[in-house]
């Protein structure tokens, strides 16, 4: 796991400046503290920061092929590299390291861009062909590893994180109005966008080619969609066997590393299942890590403790107190590079710090199981609302929602309101976005705080329409649960969970996460499992519970899914954070940034300070406004490349005209 940066001139001309590449690299030192390397010629500059996990001795990058025409910088893992290497050796390729990086390079040499389809893993990489003068960038299927780029001044500039792109002199730094509109709707941006104007993210499952001055972006993988007749018509036990075998194999190859691999343990089904399979099948001496909350409604400590004593893992936990969340909110945003309507990424940022202190670099997590096997309430909500939509007058059908949202329905005073709230849009059950419109409309209420300038800048852009347009033709073949899963995977998983709650907060402390449930073979198999086995009645992840049942305590399998959440208002507006929040949110600062209406923000603050139980929307609005203000300060007003310590490259390959020797610093 690593960080990559690069500059490619679209037309030959002056060579790439070594200092600029170094400046880009120093911004993301956290991604690769172990080794650094640079490649330069008259057209490109590539920089690599390494977190050594495989081939600790010889894996320093950039890595080249036999005749040094191809050069690669690589962030990630191809877990099936052992098998791929064997095939490539048979085809005559010769290797000088035992790293997976070199395997990818030779696979590209052998198969061209299609090589990405052979990779099972999580990756973002760049390959430069100095003979044909072609640059190839690629990103893994679901977007576990990040890769950003922009076109500036006749150059393609790319990097694992946006802050490296901003380190190039002259690149404009500005939050993007349309992206803000999307974040205050979907909790994140849509694929391809970032929070910043003119800075793109290569979407998951895509590659990018630069050739003869043109840039081409191409999709190579699509979230799988199978029509009813293509689904697996097998007894549920046979399906369970297939899933179990594949899951064990997905874990097996994700334990490939030359350093120890630990695990995150929330006490929920997914992370407990992964930890149990690791401990039972591969490594009984497992290190696990968990998050605790003082507030009972957020805490899963009892279940974590149960799993720890059940598996006998060496467990460490952090207490995500309101002070800790408040203190680390700004630091977390620096790494996420996206406004947050939630604080849930912050405890994960702290958790990776504990992993790092424990001397570990790699952890397995249970992320992805909810999307793949149907774990979220929104899937069940969609199912109930569709059932209800067939007879909207049958209010009893809406009562089923009480099973899902017992907590909020418990108050008899709001129950009738809530029911009619979920009845909104029942007449739109044929809308492709039916499952998510209630949630997105609800979140959009936060936009009441937008300034008139921001509203004008967003203009008539319709983000729902942008989602509808991006859906493939086959989307219509999915049932209501399948559609909801698709939207959740495309938007929330790729652009929020794997980013703000995934790579960014883990790599902030040089920790690599590995996600067995997002092995593409499992995603594909699960897509062929009929929805009824995923959510049986209103029992979420039914089939996964059957698969994991034999290796877990009964209580862990039987417990209701508890969404991972963290408190907001008391973290951001009290304790040590109070003064800095007040400074960021005072009217002058709000007006200077220009995104929000200063008067409305003041009213929101007054209300939240007086509220005993702040509402969901007001809480999200606070987190959203404060995080925009902080990002504006960090990346626009006070962006400083000098604050990061300089990089002294372990290797510089300098092939610029006039520079003849490859230098080892």
């Amino acid at each position: 796991m690593c960080g990559i940066v690069g500059i490619c001139k679209l037309q030959a001309g002056r060579d790439v400046d070594l200092n600029t590449v170094e400046r880009m690299m120093r911004m993301i030192r956290h991604r690769g503290p172990d080794e650094t390397g640079i490649y330069l010629d008259d057209q490109v500059g590539l920089g690599h920061l390494r977190l050594s996990i495989i081939d600790l001795e010889r894996g320093c990058q950039p890595i080249h092929n036999e005749d040094q025409t191809l050069w690669i910088i690589y962030n990630g893992e191809a877990f099936n590299y052992v098998e791929l290497r064997r095939q490539l050796e048979e085809q005559g390729h010769r290797f000088y390291t035992t790293s997976d990086t070199e395997v990818i390079l030779h696979l590209y040499e052998q198969e061209g861009p299609q090589c990405v389809e052979r990779l099972n893993g999580q990756f973002a990489f760049a390959i430069w062909n100095r003979q044909s003068r072609e640059l190839f960038l690629a990103r893994d299927r679901v977007g576990i590893r990040p890769l950003h780029y922009t076109l500036h001044n006749g150059m393609l500039i790319f990097a694992s994180e946006v802050k490296s792109i901003f380190a190039v002199p002259g690149v404009r730094r500005e939050l993007d109005p349309v992206s803000l509109d999307q974040i205050f709707t979907f909790w994140t941006v849509l694929p391809g966008r970032t929070a910043f104007r003119d800075i793109c993210e290569l979407p998951p499952g895509h590659y990018l080619k630069v050739s003869r001055g043109t840039v081409e972006v191409k999709k190579y993988w699509e979230i799988p969609i199978y029509g009813r007749e293509e689904q697996l018509d097998l007894p549920v036990e046979a399906l369970c066997d297939q899933i179990r075998d594949l899951l064990i194999d997905a874990i097996r190859i994700r334990l490939r590393a030359d350093v120890p691999v630990g695990g995150y343990l929330s006490g929920g089904l997914d992370s407990s299942g992964v930890a149990a399979l690791v401990a039972r099948k591969f490594n009984a001496d497992l290190n696990t890590f968990g998050i605790r909350f003082e507030q009972e409604n957020f805490d899963e400590g009892t279940h974590q403790e149960q799993m720890v004593s059940f598996l006998g893992t060496k467990h460490r936990e952090i207490w995500a107190t309101p002070e800790l969340i408040g203190d680390l909110f700004a630091r977390t945003l620096w790494h996420c590079e996206k406004p947050l309507l939630r604080t849930a990424p912050v405890p994960l940022y702290a958790l990776s710090g504990v992993v790092h202190e424990s001397g570990l670099k790699v952890v397995l997590t249970g992320e992805g199981a909810d999307e793949v096997f149907g774990g979220y309430d929104i899937f069940k909500e969609a199912k109930v609302r569709q059932f209800w939509s067939r007879r909207p007058e049958a209010l009893g059908r809406g009562d089923l929602l009480e099973h899902l949202y017992g907590d909020v329905f418990r108050d008899p005073r709001t129950r009738p309101f809530l029911k009619s709230f979920f009845a909104r849009g029942l007449d739109r059950s044929d809308d492709p976005l039916f499952s998510h419109l209630v949630r997105w409309d609800n979140t959009s209420r936060t936009k009441v705080l937008f300034s008139s300038e921001l509203k004008a800048a967003v203009g008539s852009v319709d983000s729902y329409e942008a989602v509808r347009r991006s859906l493939p033709d086959r989307y219509g073949q999915l049932d209501v649960v399948g559609k909801a899963q698709y939207l959740e995977t495309m938007i929330f998983l790729s652009n929020y969970l794997l980013s703000s709650q995934g790579d960014r907060v883990a790599m902030a402390h040089s920790v690599e996460i590995r996600l067995p449930f997002l092995d593409y073979r499992i995603i594909d198999l699960a897509a062929r499992v009929p929805s009824r086995w995923k959510i049986l009645g209103l029992n979420e992840k039914h089939i996964l519970k059957k698969v994991l049942g034999p290796v877990l305590p009964k209580e862990i399998v039987a417990r209701r899914k508890q969404p991972y959440r963290a408190p907001i208002v008391n973290c951001l507006l009290s304790g040590r954070q109070r003064d800095s929040a007040a400074e960021m949110l005072e009217s002058g600062a709000i007006r200077r940034a220009g995104f929000f209406d200063a008067g409305k923000v003041s009213r929101l603050l007054e209300k939240l300070q007086a509220a005993k139980n702040p509402g969901e929307i007001d809480s999200m609005a606070l987190a959203g406004v404060l995080s925009c203000q902080i990002l504006h300060r960090q990346f626009v007003e006070d962006f400083a490349t000098g604050s990061c310590s300089a990089v002294r490259p372990d290797m510089v390959v300098d092939k610029r005209s006039g520079v003849t020797v490859a230098a080892l610093a």
């Binding site: 005073r413 709001t414 809530l418 209420r445 008067g599 409305k600 009213r603 509402g615 929307i617």
Partner: protein
């Protein structure tokens, strides 16, 4: 005292943070996305305290509360009933 005006002022100040343009008297709170369940509870608590009425759980239905007009009509009925009692 104008009940509807006071309810509107409360919503504009506390829920819309000063943005009252959308709030015509027949705009549905739910359809227009003005209220969520917390906002709804805040509003009911305000109405009970400000106008000195008690609203039973069975009265908390959209027919009584979904627009400014419905809400003020309902509150005025309750106040009238209290005055008679």
């Amino acid at each position: 005292m104008n009940v509807q005006w006071e309810i509107k002022a409360y919503i504009v100040d506390n829920i819309l943070f000063g943005d009252g343009e959308r709030l015509e008297q027949d705009v549905s709170f739910q359809e227009s996305g003005i209220l969520d369940s917390t906002g709804f509870l805040e509003l009911i608590t305000f109405v009970e305290e400000r106008f000195g009425i008690e609203i039973t759980d069975s009265e908390l239905i959209p027919e009584n509360f979904d627009t400014l007009r419905k809400m003020s009509d309902f509150v005025e009925r309750k106040m009238g009933a209290r005055a008679v009692a």
